[in-house]
């Protein structure tokens, strides 16, 4: 077989799986989350980014409460389980005592934007050297699809059954717009896992957030939009499209703050796509 894949003729053999690949920080790919869920993808991307920055054996995760909590048994990472919404304060105390360890929180939108909003704002404002990872699907997935603080207008949830109505339910919070301007925030970006390009860009964002922490530059946050077809009451295969059209139109993806500089509009992380997919 030659090194170059010929594209002017059919392949000699059909594609086949040649081996199992798991990131170093993942114990298994097996999980009990719903088909089409974006959280395993987001978590895998996060774990890969830890290895990218060389902190495989020097990292601690602080985990919130949500569907993703069930994924922690897959993670080959030292963990602290927090109460709903409280991960940023735990990460603060832990990082202060172990400044050489990479600390990240893993929180959903219900956890971070609804229950724990105060925690993440103050942690950002204090410029704590931690990285908060927000996986945002716009619903409380674990309870079965209820409205959170990031649910977009018009989105149907079990307690906004006709769609979120601003007059009745209020407006969604744009976490990037809120957290990026704070003085203690050094890096803020929103990625998505609804397509391959999104996954690659998100991995780059998480890597940059960790590099920010490792330089001691202050607070970093990456929000990752994830699919929840179960909580959105749509067929599994329509999840990525719904995310792109509905969530992403309100929660725009890109970098919001880099090296402490607020970007005037959310930017794609630099680097061409070949580089990103490498």
């Amino acid at each position: 077989m030659s090194d170059t894949i010929r594209t002017d003729a059919p392949p000699e053999a059909a594609a086949r799986r040649t081996g199992e690949f798991l990131p170093k920080l993942q114990l298994t790919g097996d999980h009990d989350l719903c088909p089409g869920c974006g959280e395993p993808l987001a978590v895998r991307t996060l774990l890969e980014a830890i290895t990218d920055v060389g902190m495989t054996h020097q990292c601690v995760g602080v985990i919130g409460i949500g569907c993703y909590t069930a994924l922690t048994s897959n993670m080959n990472v030292d963990l602290i389980q927090a109460l709903h919404g409280r991960a940023p304060s735990l990460a603060t105390g832990a990082k202060r005592m172990r400044p050489d360890t990479l600390f990240f929180t893993l929180q959903g939108d219900g956890d971070m934007a609804s229950e724990g909003l105060q925690e993440v704002i103050h942690t950002a404002a204090r410029g704590e050297n931690v990285t908060c990872i927000l996986i945002n699907n716009g619903v409380f997935g674990e309870t079965g699809g209820h409205m959170t603080a990031t649910t977009v207008l018009g989105q149907r949830t079990k307690n906004s059954i006709e769609g979120r109505d601003a007059d009745y339910h209020g407006y969604p919070i744009d976490m990037m717009a809120m957290l990026a301007p704070l003085g203690g925030t050094a890096y803020a970006a929103r990625g998505t896992v609804h397509d391959a390009k999104g996954v690659a860009r998100t991995r780059r964002m998480v890597r940059r957030a960790f590099e920010t922490q490792l330089r001691g530059d202050g607070f970093s946050i990456v929000e990752i939009l994830t699919m929840c077809p179960t909580g959105w009451f749509i067929p599994t295969a329509e999840g990525p499209g719904y995310l792109d059209e509905v969530l992403r139109s309100v929660h725009g993806t890109g970098e919001w703050k880099r090296d402490g500089e607020l970007l005037t509009q959310a930017a794609v992380p630099p680097g061409d796509d070949e580089d990103l997919l490498a």
């Binding site: 054996h57 389980q81 109460l83 105390g93």
Partner: protein, 359 residues
């Protein structure tokens, strides 16, 4: 080491640091504020950290994180602030974290909060209630030791008097048993090894899907039963032939002990009993001390809380009555007119007159 005039807050902060505490987080509130000030001033010089948290919720969360990485850590407030922390305190008990919590209470009305807790689920905290600054220095060190020994939060119950009274004291390190090395904390070095740790409150084990709550909760219950069996502490005086047994804790016990000694000096048959640990409550010792007395008189500065535990201990062997009550200054900080030797002596004498008569 030399004796130095120190207010209780400073002495407790020094004792905590002597015990190896390297992290503190808190939010100001009278009469706890000075404890936070002293930690903020002293910890950085010892290589430690004191964070001015934005709320009590975050203060306890920060201490939780510091504890989970294997460092001795503490937080505190008044009862009001501790109300906000209850969710975390109950969860930290299930996460088996050795947190030390200071309650510089406004009087003694947080007895139920301290001994029953305001959080969810089956859980218990050890509670030490020092009588004065000298004992507080010992209790703080004992608290860190017991917390680590049992992997369970320990609460120090103080008040305005304890926090603000200056006494000539020496912060001498206590000789305590050697504890086994911590084998549960996370420092990140087990990540990527296939054998990571998970400090959690629901019995999760890395690599194993799902949880087994009943087994986990029963194991914690067994631990709390073992603490109840072995850690109750008390102080008593002149109980042998006493007609009236005065029961009090913390600052009120300091008054009670003084009054009982004064009356004994005059040949009056009155005894004194003080629970040093509020949980576990020294029930067996109190039942023994109350044997043969005509009346058990409970002196506490609240509407009647510890009296429940006294009744559960005495089990009807003698009438139990309250001789304390709500007593406060104008600001509500718990420095009331009841904190007065003559007034308390009058109430003990009234109990002696009643004897076993009225129930």
């Amino acid at each position: 080491m030399t004796r130095r005039l120190m207010e209780g807050s400073e002495a407790m902060a020094e004792a905590a640091i002597a015990a190896g505490c390297r992290f503190f987080a808190g939010y100001p509130m009278t009469p706890f504020t000075e404890l936070l000030e002293h930690f903020a001033a002293k910890l950085p010089d010892e290589g430690g950290t004191c964070v001015n948290a934005e709320s009590e919720l975050e203060a306890v969360g920060m201490a939780w994180g510091a504890c989970a990485t294997g460092f001795r850590a503490a937080t505190g407030s008044t009862g009001q602030g501790l109300s906000l922390m209850q969710e975390s305190l109950s969860e930290m008990t299930r996460a088996e974290l050795p947190l030390v919590v200071f309650n510089m209470s406004r009087g003694q009305s947080d007895y139920f909060q301290a001994t029953r807790g305001g959080g969810h689920g089956d859980y218990r905290h050890l509670v030490l209630a020092p009588i004065d600054v000298t004992e507080a220095i010992e209790h703080v060190q004992t608290a860190f030791h017991l917390a680590e020994k049992w992997r369970n939060p320990v609460l120090i119950y103080g008040d305005y008097l304890l926090a603000h009274t200056a006494e000539a004291v020496e912060v001498a390190p206590l000789e305590l048993d050697q504890l086994p090395e911590t084998d549960w904390a996370v420092d990140g070095t087990r990540s990527g090894t296939g054998n990571p740790r998970n400090v959690n409150s629901i019995g999760m084990i890395p690599g194993i899907k799902g949880i087994d709550p009943e087994t986990f909760w029963k194991r914690l219950q067994a631990k709390h039963d073992a603490i109840a069996e072995s850690e109750a502490r008390f102080e008593s005086e002149s109980t042998e032939d006493a007609e009236v047994l005065v029961v009090a804790f913390g600052s009120m016990a300091r008054f009670a002990r003084h009054v009982v000694r004064e009356l004994r000096g005059e040949g009056i048959r009155v005894g004194y009993f003080r629970p040093v640990t509020l949980w576990p409550f020294p029930s067996d010792a109190l039942r023994a001390a109350a044997e043969g007395v005509q009346r058990v008189a409970v002196l506490e500065q609240n509407a009647g809380q510890m009296i429940d535990d006294v009744r559960l201990s005495v089990l009807g062997a003698a009438p139990v009555s309250a001789i304390g009550g709500i007593s406060s200054d104008e600001a509500g900080f718990g420095v009331g007119p009841l904190l007065d030797v003559d007034r308390i002596r009058g109430r003990v004498e009234a109990a002696l007159e009643t004897g076993g008569g009225e129930r």
